[in-house]
């Protein structure tokens, strides 16, 4: 089912939860709402669920405007961070609850609950109570309950945040493949960019109640439209630096107090026209340790991540994060030389923080 949000706002008294949100979600699409706490992503989800009523704007499911519909008339399934299982009901009772409310005949309830439990791999737990289950099992029950009534739309409110890291990884894949197989439109709220990047077809990045971008994970990573997104998407985060441009011997150069770098020809024309300071951004993986690199610096901190070492390197007065091969056995205090892959540089207007699309 397609979901269309038009000029959607929610105010709590004077506090703005969500402001003027426009979003088109395609049928069968997996969309992640990504943003820090308080950015309005859960508020939006609760408006979709029918728990909150929008202050302005419309919500459309397919060709129906659902603003005035009660949650139970929206045919949605929802999975919560706290699982929200009914503690006084068994697993069977929990999954059967939506069917019972729909007055589905008892035998069909039985059949559909067992099918859902089978899909989620919890068929052997049907007569337990939520309190007797592990977090992962509880989350599977919650998923089963959301799926059993064959909803048009699945809503997820940070469903994996309470699971341990390993389980989170498995559940990520499971939710994703289940959603693809069933072809249900899914909206997934998370503050974890890895979840958003790995699971979603498209990501709606929100900050301070406003939509910052709505794009595929690749687009967001490769061409972040704002400095906020550039810094928020990607781990470790992008390095930022205030710079100016200068011309030397006919070639454009990028300069800061502690750094001078040549600029590849594709940026040259735009850089020549730039007026004053610009924010330069470069991802850690686009800086490398290179004994013949043009920039010299000193290792400040080494954080071993296993596969890589995360290095914090001081160049003049600037800090850069980059990833290095642990075999180099970098140590704090080492003198190193760096090379920058300037074809992958990003530039932002320091005032509006919008990306300068120069390529």
């Amino acid at each position: 089912m397609e979901v269309e949000l038009t000029n959607l706002s929610k105010k709590f008294g004077d506090v703005v939860g969500v402001e003027a949100l426009d979003l088109d979600i395609r049928d069968g699409e997996f969309v992640a709402f990504l943003g820090p706490s308080g950015c309005g992503k859960t508020t939006t989800l609760l408006m979709l669920a029918g728990i909150y009523r929008p202050t302005t704007g419309t919500i459309r499911f397919g060709d129906r405007i659902v603003n005035q519909l009660q949650p139970r008339d929206r045919n949605i399934g929802m999975v919560f961070q706290s699982y929200a299982l009914y503690p006084h009901m068994t697993v069977f009772g929990n999954i059967a609850y939506p069917l019972k409310l729909k007055k589905v005949p008892r035998q069909e309830q039985q059949r559909r609950v067992e099918a859902a439990a089978e899909t989620m791999g919890i068929a052997h737990l049907l007569d337990r109570r939520p309190g007797q289950l592990s977090g992962g099992q509880q989350q599977r029950v919650a998923l089963g309950r959301a799926l059993v009534k064959e909803p048009d739309i699945l809503l997820f409110d940070e469903p994996l945040s309470n699971l341990d890291a390993r389980l989170r990884l498995t559940m990520r894949g499971e939710i994703r493949s289940l959603q693809k197989r069933l072809g249900i439109t899914a909206i997934y709220v998370t503050h974890d960019q890895v979840e958003a990047l790995t699971m979603a077809d498209r990501i709606a990045v929100m900050n301070l109640g406003r939509l910052q971008a709505f794009a595929t994970p690749d687009d967001l990573y490769e061409r972040p439209p704002t400095k906020f997104i550039a810094g928020f998407v990607g781990n470790p985060p992008m390095n930022f630096l205030e710079i100016e441009f200068a011309q030397e011997n006919g070639a454009m150069q990028l300069r800061s107090e502690s750094l001078e770098l040549g600029l590849p020809p594709e940026f040259a024309a735009a850089a020549a026209a730039a007026d004053g300071a610009v924010t330069f951004g470069i991802r850690p993986e686009d800086i490398s340790l290179d004994d013949y690199g043009p920039v010299s610096g000193e290792v400040f901190v080494v954080e071993p991540l296993g596969r890589d070492d995360l290095l914090d390197i001081i160049v003049g007065t600037e800090h850069f994060l980059l990833l290095a091969d642990p075999k180099r056995k970098s140590r704090a205090g080492d003198r190193v030389r760096l090379s920058f892959d300037m074809t992958r540089a990003h530039f932002f207007d320091p005032r509006s923080e919008l990306a300068l699309s120069w390529k």
């Binding site: 949650p71 699982y83 929200a84 609850y97 409310l101 809503l155």
Partner: protein, 302 residues
């Protein structure tokens, strides 16, 4: 040792104001102490064994008073302290927060109003025709007036106590409802329940423990309450129409006719009440597994 030290102040209070009085009452109930034979020489007080209890068993009004008490406790508990309290908390939980708060605050007024003032208001309300606020309203509406006090004393005894009793359950239930996780309440709506279905399938089952607590606690406190009845009807009208056990104990021991107070006999009534209370308390603890009631909360968040 430190543990006992910390418990000592509370323990001392319980000893002084609960155990000691119980022991004194127990002792008094075995004597014939009364204003009729009271001298300044306490040594003349006669120890008469269980004779007071014998008299009590043969008292022609004891049976009536006993069933009065059961009727009073059960009706007040069922209608007000539990049911009305539950309805008030469910209603106020489903309306605007501020309005709900104001509404609940109003319901606390009967409890915090001085009992004499509170009862005076009720006595003005229910006064005999042609007086009384209710009768004024009746007259204004063209309805017949009525002698509420003498015709329906129980209605008013139960109303008066019920209005006070509501606030206790209301506070307990409201806090229990508020502590149900928001996600759980939202999940129920998303799963397809109406607000009424949510109350039936989710809210009420989660209120099981608070419900049991209010039933046990309030039945015990109603058993021993009498001041409102004393002020409202003084057990009347007529002979023991609304007299309850605790009130009889008071009447016999401290407020008998012509100042003829029978401290020993009154104490016997009190002792019966203590025994019933203790037995009920033990039964409640067993049946409702009180240790679980006061253990960890039943509403699991995660």
């Amino acid at each position: 040792m430190t543990a006992y030290g910390f418990m000592a102040p509370a323990g001392l209070l319980v000893l002084l104001f609960f155990f000691l009085p119980v022991l004194i009452v127990l002792y008094l109930s075995l004597t014939n102490l009364a204003s009729a034979n009271f001298t300044s020489n306490l040594a003349e007080m006669e120890f008469i064994g269980l004779r007071n209890f014998q008299t009590l068993l043969n008292d022609q009004f004891a049976k009536k008073i006993f069933f009065n008490t059961i009727f009073y406790v059960l009706s007040t508990l069922a209608l007000f302290n539990v049911t009305a309290a539950l309805i008030v908390s469910l209603l106020t939980a489903h309306i605007n927060r501020r309005a709900g708060f104001i509404f609940r605050a109003l319901w606390i007024l009967p409890r915090i109003t001085t009992s004499t003032v509170y009862i005076l208001i009720w006595r003005r309300m229910m006064a005999e025709a042609p007086f009384g606020i209710i009768n004024q309203v009746n007259t204004a509406l063209g309805w017949p007036t009525w002698n509420y006090g003498s015709e329906n004393p129980w209605v008013f005894v139960i109303l008066v106590n019920g209005f006070i009793g509501i606030s206790f359950g209301m506070i307990i239930f409201t806090s229990a409802i508020e502590s149900i996780p928001k996600d759980l309440m939202n999940a129920s709506l998303v799963d397809g329940s109406s607000y009424l279905q949510r109350i039936r399938h989710v809210t009420l089952p989660l209120l099981r423990w608070p419900l049991l607590f209010v039933v046990t606690y309030q039945s015990l406190s109603l058993l021993t309450s009498f001041e409102q009845i004393l002020l409202l009807t003084d057990g009347g009208p007529g002979l023991y129409r609304t007299e309850v056990w605790a009130l009889t104990a008071f009447h016999r021991a401290l407020s008998n006719y012509f100042g003829n107070t029978q401290w020993g006999y009154g104490s016997a009534f009190a002792v019966v009440l203590v025994i019933i209370g203790v037995v009920l308390a033990v039964v409640y603890m067993r049946v409702f597994r009180f240790d679980e009631l006061v253990a960890e909360p039943r509403i699991e968040v995660l």
